[in-house]
């Protein structure tokens, strides 16, 4: 089940805590965190193609901290416009950019400037000219209505305080017939109010 946010959760604190943690991941992915990062984790735990990851700049894969693998749900399709919500350092974004090819576009959105800058520079290093990265939030995407063929996301939407708003934004920017391929965490049991108010656990 998705985790519902209590009405009195301090969403500003949640937002700031998420930015702080992922800025640290961008700056030093080898630091001490309570979640896995990097290409070995992606391949061993989540089924990413090692050879595809090896073809990406190390800085984009080292900070990867996703929770599943949206690329396993079928090819994105050549020429498509794909949006990556919470693109981080760009690993999924760059894989998507390669999948859509030069006639397609891959647009990443991230609220952490350090991550967005890494994604931009990684795209340049990889020679991918069909990549754009925008600063923005999953709750208010900086994209036009019906502008995307595919929306992907990995380990980000669980961090938003209101899932219906975030999912609604994905719906808004998709073209009719567009696909929403996202990876997230779910919980198998009901969480108490005290746990759902704990920002540390939300960001964990």
């Amino acid at each position: 089940m998705a985790i519902a946010c209590p009405m009195d959760l301090d969403t500003r604190k949640l937002h700031d805590e998420i930015q702080s943690i992922y800025a640290r991941v961008a700056e030093d992915p080898s630091g001490d965190f309570h979640f896995h990062r990097g290409p070995d984790y992606a391949a061993e735990f989540l089924g990413y193609d090692r050879s595809a990851l090896a073809g990406l700049p190390r800085q984009s894969t080292a900070s990867f901290a996703g929770v599943a693998n949206p690329h396993l749900m079928g090819p994105i399709g050549e020429g498509a416009v794909v949006i990556d919500i919470g693109c981080g350092a760009g690993m999924d974004l760059l894989l998507a950019a390669k999948s859509v090819g030069p006639r397609g576009r891959a647009i990443g959105v991230d609220m952490t400037e350090a991550m967005a800058e890494k994604a931009r520079s990684s795209a340049l290093m990889a020679g991918l000219r069909n990549v754009e990265v925008r600063i923005g939030d999953a709750m208010s995407l900086p994209l036009d209505d019906a502008s995307a063929d595919v929306v992907i996301s990995n380990g980000v939407l669980n961090l938003t305080p209101d899932k219906s708003v975030a999912y609604g934004e994905a719906f808004r920017i998709l073209k009719p017939g567009g696909r929403f391929l996202y990876a997230d965490i779910v919980v198998g049991s009901e969480l108490s109010e005290s746990i759902r108010r704990n920002v540390d656990l939300w960001t964990g």
């Binding site: 073209k175 965490i185 198998g188």
Partner: protein
């Protein structure tokens, strides 16, 4: 899943389960509450 369907998405389904917290310091918490990683597919109707 209900939220996605309520918004208007069609063909909503899980397409893969993962164990991203295995061997992390949060593994016991994840086990306690049944937290897993999932792939989710949904389509905006034509």
């Amino acid at each position: 899943m209900e939220i996605l369907s309520g918004i208007g998405f069609k063909d909503v389904e899980f397409r893969g389960r993962f164990d991203p917290f295995r061997t992390t310091t949060k593994e016991s918490v994840a086990r306690k509450f049944g937290v897993i990683g999932v792939n989710v597919y949904a389509r905006k109707p034509n």
